[in-house]
Amino acid sequence: MSYTLQVSDLNVQFYTRRGIYKALNGVDLSLKQGEIFGVAGESGCGKTTLGLTIMGLLPKNAAVTQGEVLLAGNRDLTACLRNAAPSEGEKFNIKQSEEAIKKLNRESCDIRGTKISMVFQDPMTSLNPVLQIGFQIAETIIAHQPRPLAERKIARTKVTHDDLGQIIKLLKEGADEQAINKYAESKNLHGIEDQVLSVWRRNDLGETKKEKIILSLHSEKLGSFEKLVLERVGSGKNIGGWMRIPGINRAAKNVLLKEGYIKATELLSMLEVPNPDKVVRMYPHELSGGMRQRIVIAIALANNPELVILDEPTSALDVTVQAQILELTRHLKHRFNTSFIFISHDLSVLSEVCDRIGIMYAGRIVEIAPIDAVFSRPLHPYTRMLTKAIPTIDGNEIQGIGGTVPDMRNVPIGCSFNPRCPDATEKCRSAKPSMVEVEEGHFVACFPKGD
């Protein structure tokens, strides 16, 4: 069992003029490959902070005082920040924290956008209003994986009409992705399979039209400058040397950008955006909220990341558009093997897409369960009361939870839920419960329920 992400005993604090807010107090989480893990909780529980910590996007007044976040078993994402955090009794040094963040940014260049990416809540502000959609998608591809782009274009210069005809024949016979890859490799046409497959998979075109498009993918002509750039990038090197001169640099990037736009069109058609060739040349304000969120998801998926964190992606959208995006997420899960962390305050939304859910309260995960168990057999008192508080379409009685979310500057001693818990015991008021596996895959951090 390979874990994409392992979070152990994560503690994060924020230092402000009004006091120290303990946003995360020992979060444990293991994310399997290819699963959608939901993080549910109300405001102030720390779910957004968890997402930001994994991405390393914390502000300079935050400190990771304890714990680690391991990506793919070996890369600790929080090492820098943890080393800069003040130890017991030390005063918080904001300069030190700034330095640590700068160091983290430098080190994370190779994983942010490639291995992990994030989708935020508000699609209006996640996209740059003055750049075309295609540019924003292509930008992220060029920044991290320009080589496949160059290979694609080079492959188009080398491939012949007959090769393409052969590939179409293979596709019609029902060959899968691997077979096409092998064929392309054998003919030294690495980079063509990607393009052919994405055209073939479109379901808004007729077969004849698809064939026509595929057959037109050959005999691409390249100018000598383009050839230079593509060969250099295609062999794995960056645009460097004499190509770094300002005007020439721009021209070189444009060569890659053109190909990037084509790849962006393919990505958008995979995400079921209508008229993708027109959309890539449009600006964000010309599109609706649902479209924008699809584009943000396209940017997040552009480089085939291992982990995508979605922070309330549908909270700003209408119900019908939300249904579209959730359907899309389900579809993506089956297509790719990416793991998702889906953060939301709405348990019903999570029940639509997630495999497992973790319920957070006051900076800790208090229950992890498979999706059906959360509603049919909730163990933790908070989960139970939360499920009873959600109004359903049948208009059943709902019950609120008495009391308020604790002030994160003074988290209650013992189990942080004990002031509001109807089943609290003496033990709950003095000690912090740890996660116990009560049944297969169902963990709970509660003394009365966990034992």
Binding site: H345, E352, L386, I401
Partner: protein, 423 residues
Amino acid sequence: MLIATRQLVKHFPIKGESAFGKSLTLKAVEGVNLQVREGEVVGIVGESGSGKTTLGRMLLGLLKPTAGQIFFDIPDEVLQQYDACIANKDLGKAAEIEKQYSIFSKNRGRQREIRKKTNIVFQDPYSSLDPRLNILDIIMEPIVATGYLRSKEAVQRCMELLDEVGLPGDFAYRYPHELSGGQRQRVALARGIATLPKFLVLDEPTSALDVSVQAQVLALLRKIREKYNIGMVLITHNIAVISYMADQVNVMYAGKIVEIGQKKDVILKPIHPYNIALISAVPGKAVKGTKIILKGDTPNLVDPPGGCSFHPRCPVSFNRCGWSASEVVSDLKYLIEDKYPDRFKEGTNVSINMSGDVIITNADLISVKELISLEKKWTKSLAAIDDVSETNEGVKLKLSPCIVPEMYPQDNRLVACLHYAPL
């Protein structure tokens, strides 16, 4: 009838460019007839762009409608009389009734009365309370402004109200920024019922709150409604909340009401295609059946679709629903060029002629007819093609005229869908 609207319309003029110098308007609300009885909770459900917020503002007199009437506290007989006058074109008598019962009357005294008997609770607990006033002043505002009570009694009433909404008395001297979202919303509610109004508009009262807090606030709303018999209009996009609170439910789409009825009918057994899709889109296991995923987005209100505004996205639209020639043309173009290019020659052109029919040049009649019968099930606009014939212009497609649906009675409710129009 506590509140009754007749043919309420609100258009917002849009500044900026427009083709041919015509000024553009955003048609936010089109022809809404809404009725609220005393003590009844009427829910208005809709997504963004449905016009529900604009409607809510108009019901309280905060926005002046472009056309239509809003009556407050009008006896049923007078309302019937008014409807009769309009039907018989007796405009004089109608104007008299309007003058007496309209919510926009110029009479100062009547305005005061209306303000005393109506109020509103907004969605955002952070901007609906003046950050410079303390809670006591905030709650006292409607009491003092309408002259409901004098100063000493007013303060007393405020303390009672704080107790009523479950806040401790010492909150009176606190400031909004010291309170949580749920507490602020309770203060807004206390202010809303301060003058014991007969009518309260609640604009997304719990959308900005956490689930557990929302449950508390909704329970409080129910309690208050039962205790004081206040008629409410609850505007929200959250269908579960409507299901919990409302008696009568109105579903809005693109500025019009598409289905009105009792909660058990409209929500549990929806019949309007939009409503069906909306209910099925609600997340959670409680909603049974397969999800209907609508394509496309909420309509452009500056240039709304003709006929029934839902027809471009409706899974069951047919020929009279309002397909325009341009919609048919764009669908045909896509089919001919992208999906079935092998059936047609190069140079086939689709256009609209002077009389509004669709003309296809450089194509033969048989292939066009075949295409239409093949794709009719999936491409809904083709259903609007009444007649296909060969003329000297090319293949001519005549389209059905479209009808704007009215509210038709069906199954204990009113629905604005041509499927249910009487034949």
